[in-house]
Structure formats: C-alpha cells, structure tokens
C-alpha cells in the first residue's frame, strides 16, 4: 500500500491534461542514463496485515520495560505516563500538522507552545523558554554555542559529571570552532570546586554543569554560578525536569541558561528518541536564543492571538547569521510535555519527585543493610544511586536479568575508576516489592 489515491484511470486522465503521453514525459528532465530501469533492491510491499505481523515480530524481540522491571536511568527514566497524556497528545489534528507558519490556521498549536514556554519557565524559574530543541544533549550544545557567540570568549569548562553522551556531543559541536573544551574533574563524585575556581578565567565563556549529575549526585550549582559570574561567564545547567518537583530550580541558583532532556515529562523511553530538548534563559538573552518562539499579540479585531515571533534569529531569515540551524524541532513532544505538566500540576509533580526520592532512599538503606554501600556515601542524591558491588557488575546484572530485572547501568566505560559500580535509577513506578527483589539479587554472593 503506497497510499496513492489516484486510480489508474485518473492517472491516465491527468497525464492527458498535462499533455503527457506517458509518465516518462514528466520524467524527461532526469537524463535517461540515470533513470532506474529496475526496481530498487528491497523486499516487496507488505499488505497491512503482513506489515503488522512483521512489526509485531520485531517488537516482540525486545525486552522492553513492560517485560522486565526497569532500573535503568542515565538520562532516560521509566516514569508513569497518565493515560490522558497519550490520548490528547496523539490526536490526529496535532500529529499531522506542521510548524504554524500561518497563524490563523494554527492557533491551537501556537497557543499550546505559548503555554509550553510558560510552563517551562514556571518549572525552571527562568524567564524565557523556546518552543523545543531536539533533545538534551543538543540543547546543551546549543547553550554552549550561544554562550560562545554572545561572549566572544573561547573556553568552555565542562564538569565531568555531565552525561558522557552530552560531553561527547558537545565535543563534536565544538571540534571545528574557535573554542576550547576543558573538562572539570570530579571530587567525591561532584564537580571539584577548587579545580573549577582555578580554571575559570576571563576567557571562559561558560561553566557547564549537570545536576543531578550523571552519577545521580546533586551539584552545588549556585556556587558554580558565582564562579562563572565572577568572570563574566555564563553558568549553564543541564537539569532533570522531574527533580524540580523537589530541588532548587535553575532560576533560584542564578543559572544563565538551563537546558534539559524533557523525556521524564510524559515521553516514553522509546529506545532513546524522539525526545525533547528544553532550553530556557534570561530574558535579556532572548535575541541570541536558538529555536522557535511563540509570542502573544492581537489580531486586526484586537483579539488575543499567537504567532511565531523573533524569527529574525532563525535560519529561514538570517541564514548563516542565524542563532542556530534548527528548523524542524520537537513540537509534538513539547505538546506532550505540556499536557503532562498540566495534568500533574505543581502538586502532582512534587509527589512524583517525592516518591522517586523516597524510593531511592529506601533502596539505599536496604542495600546498606545488606552490607553494600553507595560509592559516594556522603553526597546527596535524587533518584539515582551509584552502588559499589562486591561482585563483577556483569555477573550481578545477569542475576538481575534472570530475576526479571533490568538491574541498572554499567558506568565503567565512561568512568573506568567506577567499573565496580552500578548506577540504579528509581522512579515512582518501582514498588517496594521490586526494590526488595533488586536488593536481594544484588546482595547475593553469586
């Protein structure tokens, strides 16, 4: 099924109307030498029933979190998604629209994005948010690009606690630019403050931190912001949006640009994408911001109305001078996150965060009671624990898998010194029974 609706008779009629004796006439501009005479080499078309069988078979080969209990985190979390979120965000009227270029025809999505921008600001305590970027890592990279562009400085100090993927992406972004990537070491699992103070200088465009960091530990972002501001650098924080149900938000810590992976806000884990890049900053920086923005205005009858605005920042107007090259963004995911945030409200989000924290704390306690310990016992955490195991991580994970658990994340490939540790994420979905089972599995000697 190629979803073409013309019948062969109509095809012929239309060819006639355009003065073509066959389809080949319309392909004339393509030199015949380069026109394919054989079909592409790929399997034949599938009817819908066979197609569904094929996809079902592929999906069935995956051990998804509905088949095993998920303690994997590392930037993607198995949170609960209320049914109403799926229902509303998947409405065909949203799904099959594009960027709202024609405001009159798209007030629905424009208003939804205006609400999204507002909710991101309410969540982060920042002053302005765009209407989405691709995902967490590229959002962070865009923040750094913005800091470089605004400041004219070269150095970017990046905490080693930032998600390893994000650091790798950032390096790719910076590699051909006049910029210097400097990694700030960790001390006891969090950014080494002394080292940071030492590195920060007048040529520093930004200090980049993630909190809670990749090891699950809460950073002293406010202190880092002070270091940054002392050098007229920007402080950029990558945050976990659900953690803001409990933790100090970037605005309170005087962060200049706050970015995040929005996945925890009602977006399925879906093997890593599509996700949602959140990007918020101070109002004074808005004209340097990447990404689309929706603004409120009035129409000719003085009615409130919404439209894309400050487009002179964007590639379709400014071309090589644009603040970013982004065009297609993650609109539907922004809409989904909005529905999630509106569904949860301040109390719901707080409860989710509190449940995560309760359960992580309980897990830590139970693990300790079996003699295991957290790798950095004296650092505060939110919903992720770095646990030092007393047997090989692969072996422990195999036992967990046998017990029906996705037991956690190996971190050794990112932090070789932590090869004996397991990073365990806990969400509000994990029950005491599941936590107890994990403890039992990890505490076992083999």
């Amino acid at each position: 099924m190629d979803y073409v609706q013309f019948t062969s008779q109509q095809r012929d009629e239309m060819l006639k109307v355009v003065g073509a004796s066959s389809m080949d006439d319309l392909l004339a501009p393509i030199p015949t030498d380069y026109r394919l005479t054989e079909p592409l080499k790929m399997p034949p078309a599938l009817d819908e029933m066979s197609l569904r069988a094929d996809l079902s078979a592929l999906a069935a080969k995956n051990m998804s979190s509905d088949r095993k209990v998920c303690f994997l985190g590392g930037g993607v979390y198995d949170h609960f998604i209320p049914t109403v979120v799926d229902h509303l965000a998947m409405k065909g009227e949203f799904l099959t629209a594009y960027t709202p270029y024609q405001a009159e025809a798209s007030q629905g999505s424009l208003q939804a994005f205006f609400e999204f921008q507002t909710m991101v600001c309410q969540l982060t305590g920042m002053e302005v948010s765009n209407a989405s970027l691709y995902e967490g890592a590229t959002a962070l990279a865009e923040a750094v690009m913005m800091a470089l562009g605004m400041s004219g400085k070269r150095r970017v100090l990046v905490s080693a606690g930032v998600h390893p993927h994000y650091r790798q992406v950032l390096k790719t972004y910076l590699s051909d630019l006049p910029a210097e990537y400097v990694e700030l070491p960790l001390k006891e699992g969090v950014t080494d403050m002394l080292a940071t103070e030492g590195e920060a200088d007048a040529d520093t465009a930004a200090i980049v931190v993630q909190s809670p960091n990749f090891l699950g530990l809460i950073e002293r972002v406010d202190t880092l912001a002070k270091f940054a501001h002392a050098n007229e650098s920007l402080c950029i924080q990558s945050f976990n949006p659900v953690s803001l149900g409990l933790l100090k938000h970037p605005g309170e810590m005087d962060v200049d640009i706050a970015t995040a992976e929005g996945q925890p806000l009602g977006i399925p884990m879906q093997f890593g994408g599509p996700f949602l890049g959140l990007f918020a900053t101070k109002l004074k920086h808005v004209r340097k911001m990447p990404g689309r923005l929706v603004g409120q205005t009035v129409d000719i009858d003085s009615k409130r109305a919404f439209c894309l605005t400050l487009q002179t920042r964007e590639q379709h107007i400014r071309r090589e001078k644009a603040t970013s090259n982004v065009c297609t963004n993650q609109g539907l995911l922004a809409l989904r996150a909005s529905v999630y945030l509106a569904a949860m409200g301040p109390k719901g989000l707080r409860e989710v965060a509190q449940l995560c924290f309760n359960k992580a704390t309980y897990l830590a306690r139970q693990l300790r009671s079996t003699g295991l310990s957290l790798r950095f016992e004296h650092q505060p955490f939110f919903n992720e624990l770095l646990v030092k195991l007393n047997r090989p991580v692969d072996q422990a994970l195999q036992s967990a898998s046998d017990a029906g658990l996705l037991g956690g994340l190996r971190v050794g490939s990112y932090y070789p010194e932590l090869a004996d540790c397991l990073l365990i994420a806990v969400t509000e979905k994990r029950t005491k029974v599941e936590l107890d089972l994990l403890v039992k599995v990890l505490a076992a000697k083999s």
């Binding site: 109307v17 319309l26 999906a59 051990m63 909710m119 109305a305 963004n329």
Partner: protein
C-alpha cells in the same frame, strides 16, 4: 471555532487535580532543606475533564493533514498512515530503554539495520547513519563528516561550502555551525545551476557544494551530472539536500548521478508525521570514502554461526563522535521503516511518479492565471517543461491588482486549504507541493479555489484583503509581536506577561 480558548493558566483552580498518584509504599523522607526549592510552582492546576476539553479545543483550532489538503512546498505534507502510529506504540518499541544490552534489543537493532540498508539502496550510496534528529541536523552532521575527512586527508584549509542562492536557510546556517564559510552561487533564469559561476568559485578551499535536486524551485537540475564532475575535479564533495527526495524515489538515485553525501527528511519523504513542527529524523547517506567518519553508534549486522545478530558499533576510530544522545529518533525511524515496508520498491517509485503527476496537474490547471517562472512557454502544456513534485507560481497580475501573496494565502485558509509555502525561495511566489497522497478531487478543488480567488481579484479586492473570515483570529499584528515580545503568560498582570522586552 470562533470562540477564544482561554489559556490553561486561566482555567487553573488551586487544588484541582487531573491525576492521582499512589501513596508511598516506603517511608517518606524529607529532602535536605538546603537542596529543596523554596519557590512555589506556578504550574497550572486543572481537573482531568477540563484538561481534555482544553486540548480538544486546541486540536479543533489546528489545521492538519488529517483535516485537509496541506500543499506546503518543500515540506511534503503527505498522508501519515495510521498503521505507522500503531507500530510506534507497540510496547516492545515504546517501552525500550536506550541503554539496554544488545541481547535485549535485537528487534530494535534489526529494524534500524534494515532501514539503514533500505536508505542506502534508495540513495545509491554506501553507508547511512540514522543518528541525526532532523534535516538541518543531518546537514550539520554531514558537513562535520566532510570536515573530518579533509582533516584526515591533510586538507584542513577546505572550509568553504558553495550553495545556490535558492538554498534552504538551514544550508548556510548548518555551515556556520561547523565554522564553515558559505559562498552563494547563482542560478540561471531557468532555475538550474549556473555552471560558469560554479566553476569560477571552485578552488582548493572548497569542501563541498550543497545542492537540492530537484531544486527548491521544483526543477530537476539536469546540470547535475556535469556539476558532479566539476566538483569532484576540484577535489570537493557534492552534497545533496534530500528534502525533495519525494520526487525521485526508485526513479533515480543520488549516488548514481554523482552525489557523495546527502540527508533525508523522514518526516517529508517517508510519511512520519510533522507533529506541529516535529519530531523528524535526518539520516545521512555517504559514499564509502566518507563512511569512516560517520557518527557513532552505528548499527551493524554480525553474521555468526548461530545466525545473524545485530549490534552497536561504537568504536569507529575516525568517527566524528556522537551528534546526539543515545540512538537517534528511534520511534520516528520505526514509522519510516513501516512506511517503506508498506510501499515496497514499486510502491516507492509510484509515490514519486504520482507526486510529480499531481504537481504538474495542478500547475497545468492554474498556470494561465498563476504563471510559472520556470514552467513551459505560454500556451504549452506542462509536459513540455514539467516540474518535479512541486512548483513555483508568481501571480504577478493578481499582485498588481493589489492582492498580495499573503492575501491569497488567507483566502485559501477560509476555503479549507492550508496555504502553500509563500515568498520562498523567491519573493512573491507560491510554492505548491501537493504530494502523491491526495485524491484528484482534492487537487481539482484546490485549483478551483485558486482560480476563484484570481477571478475575485478582478471584481472584489477588498473582500480578498479582509479574509480570513472563518478562523478564530485573523490578520495578526506580527510586527508588534516581535517588537514587544510577550513570550510567557504571567498571573501577576492579568494575563499579559510583565516580562515584556521593550
């Protein structure tokens, strides 16, 4: 439709809840007060029914392909098959964590691998990376790959990219993001590349020439082959912006006509939904010289004694590295895979043939009134100088009567159609891309509407300038919006943000 829908904040009621959460089955612990937020969140509070109504109302105020014809040029707003959504929602895809062990994700890896192979075949190129998030991200990634190639080949000074004046804005913007310079090359009056101008710019600082083909004025550029020779001669790469791949699926392969590297837009060509702006995916395809530099991870097939299995290849020493976290826009790629499997090879060719036919058909029906700058000679049928899957019309006479392109657009909205792309790639144009999934009746109705508007331009210009009449709002003050941006709602000022940037 014509009532205003309040903002979600304006229907917020302190204490209302749409969702309840379980009680804690473990002890409740208080977080350290030094870490806790002191601010009280202003997120809206709203019951479940009011939430449903709010978004239902917004959905009814939103033009979509499901609703009607959306001939937005360069965007390929084709039908988004519902079975794609079914596939993406399968728990085995939707609930998969990106960092699971390979043994637990063979279905997902297999799907990605097959899709990779399909896209290689469609491109006629050697290797595809599925990592990029969208077209622009694909451009940037591909430029990084080219840059890495030249660094590796000690030609670091190749930093300039040539692109035609009609290039999409993301092309130069992507160059800038890589620190590459962009130099514009001219197009001829027939819409094709000016080869002399191109030649004059080619030198040993050129990394790549970026073209769109069929180009953004809707013409297949028959200079392509020559161009490729010239570019290769000059030691640079020929980059294809694949936004217009819907015109050549199974008809011609970029790799065959000299392209070295290209990106796809799955949300255009392969029917993944546009979601009010995104997500999309922007896989890139390259010739084997460039393959070592592709981003990680790459999905590979390993044929072992126990049969094939699929794996991530993370250790590519020459790779540019990661371009995003995790594994790409996976669940967008699931939809693209589903679509390609549904079409099959003959179906894909039929897609492009019918997309071309549809564009020529509309063009034929309106061209006497909406002249085509790159079309056939006056009075000649489209077949004498056909467009590809889209075309550009510049209705000068209508404009001269005082009806702007935007006026035409607003009048189309009231007739139930999304306007075409306007003022791009040339001023005062309509860029019309019908796609292959529309019925002939819809194409006719759209052409009829355009003709009706043209007729009205001779009798009732004021009426045309007043439209739209049937939309919830009409003719917005966009200048005011940009001059004093109101980008968030705030409770403290009765609905209008204090955070106005003067």
């Amino acid at each position: 439709m014509t009532q205003n829908e309040p903002l979600v904040f304006e229907i917020s009621t302190p204490g209302a809840r749409a969702v309840d959460l379980p009680h804690s089955d473990v002890p409740v612990v208080e977080i350290d007060s030094n870490l806790a937020s002191v601010a009280i969140s202003e997120l809206p509070e709203i019951g479940q029914l009011d939430l449903v109504r709010h978004y239902t109302h917004l959905s009814h105020r939103n033009f979509s392909v499901d609703d009607n014809f959306y001939p937005l040029g360069s965007c390929t707003m084709k039908y988004n098959p519902k079975v794609n959504e079914w596939a993406a929602a399968l728990p085995g895809f939707a609930n998969l964590h990106p960092l699971q062990d390979e043994s637990d994700i063979q279905g997902a890896l297999g799907l990605l691998y097959h899709l990779r192979v399909f896209l290689q075949e469609i491109a006629g190129l050697d290797e595809v990376s599925l990592q990029p998030c969208a077209g622009a991200h694909g451009e940037w990634t591909a430029l990084k790959v080219i840059r890495a190639y030249f660094k590796d080949h000690h030609q670091s000074k190749r930093r300039i990219v040539l692109a035609p004046d009609t290039a999409h804005g993301t092309n130069p913007a992507s160059c800038a993001m890589c620190g590459a310079g962009v130099v514009t090359i001219k197009s001829q009056s027939d819409g094709l590349t000016d080869l002399d101008d191109l030649q004059s710019h080619l030198n040993d600082e050129i990394a790549a020439v970026m073209v769109t083909n069929p180009n953004t004025v809707g013409k297949f550029d028959s200079h392509m082959i020559k161009m490729a020779d010239m570019v290769h001669q000059a030691g640079a790469f020929l980059y294809l912006d694949g936004a217009n791949m819907n015109a050549i699926l199974g008809i011609a392969r970029p790799g065959d006509f000299g392209v070295d590297v290209m990106h796809y837009n799955t949300h255009k060509t392969f029917s993944t939904p546009h979601g009010c702006g995104g997500p999309g995916a922007g896989p890139i395809a390259v010739r084997k010289e460039l393959a070592p530099y592709l981003p990680v991870p790459q999905v590979i097939r390993i044929d072992g004694k126990a049969g094939e299995r699929y794996a991530w290849d993370e250790r590519r020493s020459k790779s540019i590295g990661k371009v995003r976290s995790f594994n790409g826009q996976f669940n967008v790629l699931v939809r693209a895979y589903t679509y390609i499997r549904a079409c099959g090879p003959e179906g894909l060719r039929n897609v492009s043939e019918c997309a071309i036919l549809a564009a020529n058909y509309i063009a034929q029906r309106i061209k006497d009134v909406y002249p085509l700058p790159y079309g056939p000679k006056d009075g000649q049928p489209m077949a004498t100088n056909p467009c590809a899957h889209e075309f550009i019309a510049v209705p000068r006479a209508i404009i001269d009567r005082g009806v702007s392109i935007m006026d035409i657009a607003k009048n189309l909205i009231d007739r139930g159609f999304h306007p075409p792309t306007v003022h791009w790639p040339v001023h005062d144009c309509l860029m019309i891309e019908p796609t292959e999934t529309e019925s002939k009746a819809t194409l006719d109705a759209f052409a009829d509407s355009l003709l009706e508007i043209a007729a009205l331009s001779q009798t009732n210009v004021p009426l045309l300038k007043e439209a739209p009449f049937k939309q919830p709002v009409r003719r917005l003050d966009e200048v005011g919006a940009a001059r004093k941006p109101v980008l968030t709602w705030s409770a403290r000022s009765g609905g209008v943000s204090e955070k106005v940037l003067a």
